[in-house]
Point group: C2
Chain length 318, copies 2
């Protein structure tokens, strides 16, 4: 039996802008997907029974955990099975990441599967190999649309600065609250919508992307100093810029303003492609519990995360 786990991710700054070459900053979080591979002679079995969202009661999420989600995860695993020519194994998926929420659930499932299956086959792939294979597979399953950021963060963990190339940043952990709107989003359609806006109004959208990139570049030293008040201010600016290019939604605005208001957040923004999915908030002096309560009362599903977590790893057998 071989188990590997890989982290989800949040984009702290610069989503959408990065598509046009501006800098973004992402971090791996402590919500993980784990894949367990066991011998199972004569067949390949994929089980997804445990694909639940850790920390949520099931009644809150009824209807969101049914077969479409299992099918979703299974598509990615099937691609890995085919790529690595896996035979005679049962593969069990567990994930504490909501799907289609902008937290990189698919990348973490693929990355964990590539490591677990290859290790079970007795071959040790380097992290560079795992990241490259995983990116290629995610892109294939998603019809050409995938960012190398998600698979890189799931593989290497920590923080990554992404512009024309991806580079690791050595920064401390940051306590954040993620607020899930409960609304699935569609990364592809959101990215295409923003890119169409940019084609129509390059004189408006290009300076917006440039300002987003400048925010990302200011952020690293502030994370190093744990300067939450400045980081929060930059999150607020970044959120407005995302709103300007049409990436927000009523539900996201509701959670963002609940976080900044009653939640006492130092700052809050949507994270990922937007249009649904999640927002992130940096707790202010009132603390994390106050922030989570405010998000819950505004109709969101809050969970506390730490960014800057370890990448893909083999898990000891229990």
């Amino acid at each position: 039996m071989t188990t590997a786990s890989a982290p989800g991710k949040i984009i702290l700054f610069g989503e959408h802008a990065v598509v046009s070459g501006a800098t973004a900053l992402g971090g791996a979080i402590d919500l993980r997907a784990s894949i367990t591979v066991q011998d199972s002679p004569g067949s390949v079995v994929i089980t997804t029974d445990d694909l639940v969202l850790k920390g949520f009661s099931l009644d809150l999420l009824s209807g969101r955990l049914s077969s479409p989600q299992a099918a979703y995860a299974t598509r990615y695993i099937s691609a890995v099975v085919s790529e690595l020519d896996a035979r005679d194994v049962s593969i069990e998926i567990k994930s504490s990441l909501p799907v289609s929420a902008g937290l990189g659930s698919s990348a973490s499932i693929i990355v964990a599967a590539v490591m677990a299956i290859s290790e079970h086959q007795g071959q040790s792939l380097s992290k560079e190999e795992i990241a490259a294979i995983s990116y290629r597979l995610e892109k294939k399953v998603q019809d050409g649309l995938a960012s190398p950021t998600d698979t890189a963060l799931a593989t290497f963990g920590g923080y990554l600065q992404i512009s024309r190339e991806i580079s690791a940043l050595d920064l401390p952990m940051l306590d954040l609250v993620v607020g899930y709107t409960g609304v699935a989003h569609n990364t592809k359609s959101e990215v295409e919508k923003v890119q169409r806006l940019k084609e129509r109004y390059p004189d408006l959208v290009e300076p917006i992307f440039k300002a987003m990139g400048a925010i990302s570049e200011r952020a690293a030293p502030l994370i190093r100093e744990k300067n939450t008040s400045e980081l929060g201010g930059l999150m607020n600016i970044n959120h407005g810029l995302l709103e300007a290019i049409g990436a927000s939604s009523k539900e996201l605005e509701t959670l963002v303003y609940a976080a900044r208001g009653a939640g006492g957040a130092a700052g809050a923004k949507l994270t990922g492609a937007g249009g649904g999915g999640c927002m992130i908030a940096l707790p202010g002096p009132a603390g994390q519990e106050t922030l989570m309560t405010a998000i819950r009362q505004a109709g969101g599903y809050p969970f506390s995360v730490k960014s800057g977590q370890e990448g893909v790893r083999l898990e000891k057998e229990p």
Copy 2:
């Protein structure tokens, strides 16, 4: 008896950016303040009994029509009385403009008073003189903070493009819906907050202001063509940029998203300094009633306005 009335205003595009020299576009609206002057030997009497908000039921606004509002209007009238050395007159103020809402209520009261009192004294001031005196008085009452835009729009009406200088634009009327949050705002503190942000992050805020100015400059031909779908798109972008610099609020976001969602608006944005006050929305194919209903259901006070209205004028006696 002499009566003059002057219109309120909305900023269509470019508020805040205009403070730093970028272009803004404003329009006079068909909510007006009117001032009636009558002989009243031996004293100067100012009455404000009728300072109510046309179209609102009083119960909705209880607490917002009490003496602070009368005192507010009276301060401006007192400045005009003093400037024009008015004696032996009673001055009655009527206004359909909510105060401290970003709709230029103080400017319209001053401008109408300057015209009504001077005409009553038998002197005919030119519009240029009225605008100049009114701007100076508003600035004085507001401790140095006043934009010449409000008094110019109240005087000349129509549409004005404001950058380093103010120029009139000949454009058709536009049907809009204004949504009042019911939250008074403080122009001075909002403007100062944004200017502080600009000093702190010039590399972020200057491109935002520049994009706002570019939006204002694109708008005039679209108003001429009544291209509401493009105008609405630009309103949405402008709103996000205002959100980025901290000018929005929970209440404004709620009305903006209600307008864009259930209201079917072609676009929606906050108007004026923000932090409270009003938003404006451009009706979409679903029409103005749908839009007003959505704003009302979201907790706002909607009223329909037409922009591009006549400036200060003498009213015939009834």
